[in-house]
Point group: C2
Chain length 206, copies 2
C-alpha cells in the first residue's frame, strides 16, 4: 500500500509516519518509483506498536528506538527483557540508596535469582527508603504481600510470552508486557481499592 | 526550630522550603519575631511527605497541594482515596475507549463495587484496547491473573491503613500508598521477571 493508505489504515498522520521513518523507528518501504514507496502489513503492525509505546507507555523516541531494536535483534528473550526493563526504569545510582532499604528488599525476594543491579531491586529499595522517611511503618506484611502479588503477575507475563510462535513475537510480547503491565496493574489496583473500601466502610455519601 | 534548622533536619534547601510555604503546601510557622518564625516536628513530617510525593511520586505542585488538602480535610477515607486516585491517574474521556475493552475489564472485575467512572476501570480498559490494537492476545488468563494480584495488593493496602491511629494518619497512608504502591509493585515485578526468566531459561550468557 502507499503512504496515504498506511496512514488511513493506522489512523496515524502522514507527517508522523514520515517522522518515524526519519527517526529509524519504522523500516523504509519498498521503493516503487522515484518518489514513492510501498508498505505492507509489517509496517501497519510496527506503527501500531510505536504508537502504543509512545502514547500509552509514555516512552521517548530514543527509548522506543532502543526497545524496537531489541525486538529486531538476534538476542535471547532474557536479553530483550533486560533492555525493556532498563528502558522503562529510572536509572538509579545504588550509592543513593541506603543499605537498610536494600536489605529489606533482599529479605522480601529472598531465594530469587536477581542481579544486584536489577532496576527493580534498586527501585523497590528506593520506595521503601521513601516510605520510612515519611514515617510509615509496614506492620501487616505490606512489602511481602506486594512481593507475592508481583510474582503472580510475572508468572502470568512469562506464561503468555511462551505461547508466542517465534522469537520476534515473543520479544514483542516482552516489550509490550513490560510497558503495559505496569499500567494495567496500577489501574486494577485502583478499582480493587474502591471495591474493598465500599465493602469495608460502605458506599461514599452522595 | 528556626528555618535553618528545619532545612538542616530535612536536607531540603531553605529556598525550596520558602517556595513550598508560598505555594501553600507547608503551613506557616509560628511567628516569633518581625522576620522570624518557629517550626516544629509537624513541619519536618510534612516536608518529608511533600518531597516524597514530588520526587518519588512525580507529582506536580498543584497535584501535591490537592492530595495534601485531602489529608487535612475532614473527609472520609473513601473520599481521600478518591482524591488520591484521581490525582495520580490520567483523566481519560470514556468516549475514547471502546465498549469491547470496557466489557473485558467489567468481566474481570465482575462482582466488584466499582463506579463506572473509577479512573482505574477506564485506564485498565485503555490498556486492553492498546493490547488488542498491537495484535496481542490474552490466551493464558493474563488479565484475570493481574486482577487477582491487584486485589491482593489492595487488601494489603487497606489492612495497613486500618492500623493507623487516627483519621489524619490513615489519610496520609492512603495518599502515600496510592503514590508509592504503583512504584513498588512495578519494581518488584521486574525483579520477579528476572528471577523467573533465570529459572525457566537459565542465566543469561556472560
Amino acid at each position: 500500500m502507499k503512504m496515504a493508505a498506511l496512514s488511513a489504515t493506522t489512523g496515524i498522520p502522514v507527517a508522523t509516519i514520515k517522522y518515524y521513518l526519519r527517526e529509524d523507528l519504522l523500516p523504509a518501504g519498498e521503493r516503487v518509483g522515484p518518489t514513492q514507496a510501498s508498505y505492507d502489513d509489517s509496517h501497519v503492525r510496527r506503527l501500531r506498536l510505536i504508537k502504543s509505546l509512545v502514547d500509552v507507555g509514555g516512552l521517548s523516541i530514543a527509548s522506543t528506538r532502543r526497545v524496537l531494536e531489541s525486538i529486531d535483534a538476534d538476542i535471547t528473550i532474557g536479553e530483550t527483557l533486560e533492555v525493556a526493563q532498563s528502558t522503562v526504569s529510572e536509572n538509579l545510582d545504588p550509592a543513593t540508596i541506603d543499605e537498610a532499604s536494600l536489605q529489606l528488599v533482599d529479605e522480601a525476594i529472598s531465594g530469587w535469582n536477581v542481579h544486584p543491579m536489577n532496576p527493580g531491586r534498586l527501585a523497590a529499595a528506593r520506595v521503601l527508603m521513601t516510605f520510612a522517611a515519611v514515617g510509615q511503618a509496614d506492620t501487616r506484611g505490606w512489602v511481602d504481600r506486594y512481593t507475592a502479588a508481583a510474582l503472580k503477575a510475572a508468572e502470568a507475563d512469562l506464561d503468555e510470552i511462551e505461547t508466542r510462535p517465534d522469537r520476534a513475537a515473543r520479544a514483542e510480547t516482552v516489550v509490550i508486557g513490560t510497558v503495559l503491565g505496569d499500567a494495567l496493574f496500577a489501574a486494577l489496583r485502583r478499582a480493587a481499592q474502591e471495591h474493598l473500601t465500599c465493602e469495608r466502610y460502605g458506599l461514599p455519601p452522595g
